[in-house]
Structures are given as structure tokens and as C-alpha cells.
Amino acid sequence: MPKPLLELICPAGSLPALKAAVDHGADSVYLGLKDNTNARNFSGLNFDAKALAEGVRYAHAKNRKVLMALNTYPQPTTLKRWQQAVDTAATAGLDAIILADPGLMAYAMKTHPHLRLHLSVQGSATNYEAINFYHEHFGIQRAVVPRVLSLPQVENVVQHTPVEIELFGFGGLCVMVEGRCLLSSYACGDSPNTFGACSPGHAVRWQQTPTGMETRLNGVLIDRYADHEKAGYPTLCKGRFEVQGETYYALEEPTSLNTLEMLPEMHRIGIAAIKIEGRQRSPAYVAQVTQVWRAAIDAVKRNPATFKPQPAWLTQLDKVSEGSMHTLGAYYRPWK
């Protein structure tokens, strides 16, 4: 079977979002269960058994794949629940599960030898020796690479591994290596690794004060907005802080990743799949973004040499982006 090239992987935080993704051209959708076994553990989001069955039926009827993210780290007293989630995925006919924890990979390989395994971005594998470790020990067939490598570095990885490489193409941007960030638990006790969410809603407070709207995470001031500024969600790496007398976005501006213009290069180096971030976003977001990326990927596959992002696509993506600003992130080396 030939290696896949630029499959479009879209987020499904709910059944309507899943249907929107499938209807607008996703090759695969990814989803999670309603608990901390995945890294978008937000209330009102994700799938129970009934929604999962319907989602799989809907996608498979249209010849699309469904992937399940089980990409947080199981803990000693709760390990069973993660293992049961693997069983659930196998029983429900998922096309692959996306894992970060080696122990859980070993369980999946032993218990469900035919279930396809992907290495989650939360596994923090940024080089081919690490990726090949997961391949040799657990047979993972695809790896999602953290948003920290430049494209030439990604190309080097592709050339040294039999594992398919999936990259983030669009959506929220983690400035830190995924799986290697404890800022959220430092501030409020819950981090993506174990709790499945960063800067979780229960720790967030918004407060109008005489000096402006303040956003806090467990009491820590993340940002303060003047009346003319639009207050953003207090994701703690995207706040304004003071360093040596200067107040600025010390870690990262509230921007989104958008790599549309890099599609020909991703095509050339043999990227297997492009992932769209945003399981916490609405079905309308999923529909819009999927539609644009479907058109763009089809265009680049038809003729990579003449590919140019169309202004209409960019306008459509800008409308749904966080902070209405875009960056190429680490794929573009000077950003680092």
C-alpha cells in the first residue's frame, strides 16, 4: 500500500462537528471520550458510547476514518480506565488510536494487535530516534510531531523513519513542546498530561476593575485589558507579563498557526497528514476550516508548482482564528 500523502485530519469535539468535518471533506476525524483520557477534557465536549457509535457509522458510511485520542498519561490508580478506553475504541471500530504513554501502547498492542496506533503530539517525539523507538517497540504507524521543528528538520525526520509523519497545519498554537509543559499545573494544579486540559475553565476568573478587565488563573493575573482591547481567554502562555521593566507577550502572542502557504513543501517532503486543531471549537468552525483545507490540499495535489493560497481561503480562515493573527510557527525558522 502506498504511503498516504496530505490526508486531512479534522477535529470533532461533538457529533455535529464530526458530521461537519465529514461533510466538508475531511479524510479522517479525531475525537475523544468524555473524561481526562484525552487532552481536550472540557465540559460539554467529546463523545459518550452512543455518540461514538453514531459518529463511526456516519464517517464509515462515507468512507472516512475515525481516530480516537487517548493522549493523556494514565496514573497508578486510574490506569484501568485508560485501558478500558482502548478496549472501547477497538470494540467501536475506530480506525486508529492516538497515544502518548508507552505503557498504554504496550497494552493496546498486546490486547488488540490489529488496532492501528498513532503516536500523539503529547508523546513529545521530536527526532527520528524517538519516533523509531515507538515504532520498534509498539508498532506505531504514524507520529504527530510537536509544533517545534522547522520544515527542514521535519524533512530529515521523514527520511529516517518508516513511520508516517503528521503535522499540525492550522489552529491553536502551543508554543511549548506538547507533553513537556507543566505551566498549567504549576499555576492551578491541572495540566494537560494528567488532567487533559491547559488553563482549565474552573480555575479562570474574569473581573472588571477600574484599571481594566482582568483575567486570572487560580488567582494569578494572566492579563489585563484596556477598554478598547478585546479580552482573550487566559491561556497562561499567551498573557502579558513584565520582564525587566517591560510588559509584553513574554512567551507568545495570542495567534493561530496557519501553514497553508507551506503546503507545496509539505507535499514535496512526503507529509502523510495535516492535522487541524480545535476540538473545543464549534461545528461552524470545523466546517469552514475543513472546507478551505480540502480545497487547498486538492489544489496542491493537482499542481504543487503553481499552488498559491487563494485570498478567499485566507479571509475565511482569518475570520475563525484566535486573535485574528497568523504565524507559521516553528516551521519557519526565524520565528524561533
Partner: protein, 311 residues
């Protein structure tokens, strides 16, 4: 009574001038640490000491009776990073700490016993057992792991457990260099500004609270994580060693305080007070208690050794 719990000097996380590093480890040779971790774990651009320099330091410290471990870089991105990693793995003399799974892979293939570093994200018994099979003889739990989770972990026979017990917590790694960003420089032309900040750059909230510490591509806690006042709670945890993370001032005093506290020559209710002047920022212990890492709960009456307490 001498406590069987060992002390380890963690890898130097900051970028210091060559002479400062050499003099630091010259002093460390006489400190009451059993193990010394050496090497650059944060940024591949830092080059005050080359591989051969670290090896020479390792020989000196080994001759002084220390167990020496070479630590690998946490974020391995490029082919030259891998080349540096292979050099460490193939050093032929000293044990290695793997700080990501590429290193674990190479060490395991080479049949070498290794230390599973804190960034490997070992949160459960299955993953720990797997690492034991690969050759890990010691593990350092993720710095956010609470005591309760640690005590719920079945630990493979012969596996040593080393807990991060002192210092600013290494919380996050990025492709982006926040020190270079602060100076409006690109990472590839950073002018090595980290060298001007021997304990990192403090990142304050807009109301002046020291929240985090910028250390190149690494983000650390603003506060200093310390378990010195909770050593009694190590009973029942299978912890075999405490990792103390280097800081530019008073490190020898910190080591001495921990050793005295472990051995009971410093009464438990005096530990926090004795350590206080050696802290570059307020203390925190929240992670150990399963709370926000920046929290601090100083027990009014510290638990005396060797009585166990619940985390």
C-alpha cells in the same frame, strides 16, 4: 543516624561562563552529594563547555568519590543534536540520564543501564516497568508528581527513585527562545544572552508577582520548589535520592542543610528557617501535596523524622 537517602546535584540548567562552571564543580567535589549530573540539558547553542570538558569534569568528580551521570538534552531537534547525543551515549565510561525517548532508545540498544530522567513522563507502573526492561536502573518522576501518586506506584525491584526536591522547577520546553525574544533577537543569533542571567530572568505578573523564570528555551517556576521541611514524608515512598538543582549562590549551604536535615543533626522544626537565607525566591511545595505547584503549605510543626505523613 545517617539517613540512607542520597543527595544528587542535578544538571546545571543555566548558562554560566566557563570559569564559573569549573569553580562551581570544584566546590561541589567537597559537598555532601553522592551523585553529580553533568552536561547541557537545555540548549544546544550553549558551548562554554564542550563534550570533552564535561568528560574531564566527570573524571575529576569521579576521582573525588562522586557517582557521575551524563545528562542528555531534553529537546533533540536536529541531526547535530543527535550527533551530540550519540557521543554521550557512547562515552564508554559514565552512566547516562535519558531525557527523551531517543536517548532511551539508543541506551537500550547499546545494552547500557541508564537513568530515566524527569521529562520522560513516567506516570504509571506499566511505563515504569517497561523502562526497567529497557535498562533503566533509576527514574526521576515528573516534577509535578504528588506524593500520593508516587506511593501508589509499584516500583520494580532494584529500581532507584530520585525525586526533584530543591530548585526552580523545570516546567516547560519550547522551540522558541524566550531570552532571545526578550532582547528582540532571533534564536539563531541570540548573542548568548542567557549568560547574563545566572539564575534566569524573572517573569512577573502585571501586579509584580514573580510567576515564572525564563531560561532560554526552558521555562521554570518563579518560586523555588523545596521539600526540605517535608523530609519526614519520604518515609513509605521508596525514594532513594533527592535531586537538588544548581543555583548560582549558596548551593553548598543548600546541600549541607539537606544532608543535616536527612541525618537528623538539624532538627526538623529548624530546617525551613536555616534554608531561608539560601533561597533566591519564595519557596513552594504544592506539587508534592497534589496542589498547584506554586502553593506553599509550611507545616506549623514540621513532621519529625522518621514518622511518615500523608501527602
Amino acid at each position: 543516624m545517617t539517613s540512607p537517602i542520597k543527595l544528587a546535584l542535578g544538571p546545571l540548567l543555566y548558562y554560566w561562563p566557563r570559569d564559573t562552571v569549573l569553580s562551581f564543580y570544584e566546590q561541589a567535589a567537597s559537598w555532601a552529594v553522592d551523585t553529580v549530573y553533568l552536561g547541557e540539558t537545555v540548549c544546544s547553542r550553549r558551548h562554554e563547555l564542550r563534550h570533552e570538558d564535561w568528560l574531564a569534569l566527570a573524571e575529576t568528580l569521579a576521582a573525588a568519590g562522586k557517582e557521575v551521570v551524563l545528562s542528555t538534552q531534553t529537546l533533540i531537534e536536529s541531526e547535530s543534536d543527535l550527533k551530540a547525543l550519540r557521543k554521550i551515549v557512547d562515552n564508554g565510561r559514565f552512566r547516562v540520564e535519558a531525557n527523551e525517548f531517543g536517548a532511551a532508545n539508543l541506551l537500550s540498544k547499546a545494552g547500557l543501564a541508564f537513568v530515566a530522567g524527569p521529562a520522560l513522563n513516567v506516570y504509571n507502573p506499566d511505563t515504569l516497568a517497561l523502562l526497567a526492561n529497557l535498562g533503566a536502573m533509576r527514574w526521576v518522576p515528573p516534577v509535578e508528581m504528588p506524593r500520593a501518586m508516587l506511593t501508589a506506584m509499584p516500583i520494580p525491584a532494584g529500581m532507584e527513585t530520585e525525586v526533584f526536591a530543591f530548585g526552580r522547577l523545570p516546567l516547560a520546553f519550547s522551540a522558541r527562545c524566550f531570552t532571545a525574544r526578550h532582547y528582540n533577537l532571533q534564536k539563531d543569533a541570540c548573542e548568548f544572552r542567557c549568560i547574563d542571567h545566572p539564575d534566569g530572568l524573572t517573569l512577573n505578573t502585571r501586579e509584580g508577582e514573580g510567576f515564572l523564570t525564563i531560561n532560554g528555551i526552558q521555562t521554570q517556576s518563579g518560586k523555588v520548589h523545596s521539600l526540605a521541611h517535608r523530609l519526614g514524608e519520604l518515609v513509605g515512598t521508596q525514594v532513594t535520592a533527592l535531586r537538588l538543582s544548581p543555583q548560582s549562590q549558596h548551593m553548598g549551604d543548600v546541600v549541607a542543610t539537606y544532608r543535616e536535615a536527612l541525618d537528623g543533626t538539624l532538627p526538623a522544626n529548624k530546617v525551613a528557617t536555616q534554608l531561608q537565607p539560601f533561597l533566591p525566591a519564595p519557596a513552594c511545595d504544592g506539587y508534592w501535596l497534589g496542589k498547584a505547584g506554586l502553593d506553599l503549605e509550611l507545616p506549623l510543626t514540621p513532621t519529625p523524622l522518621p514518622q511518615g505523613a500523608r501527602g
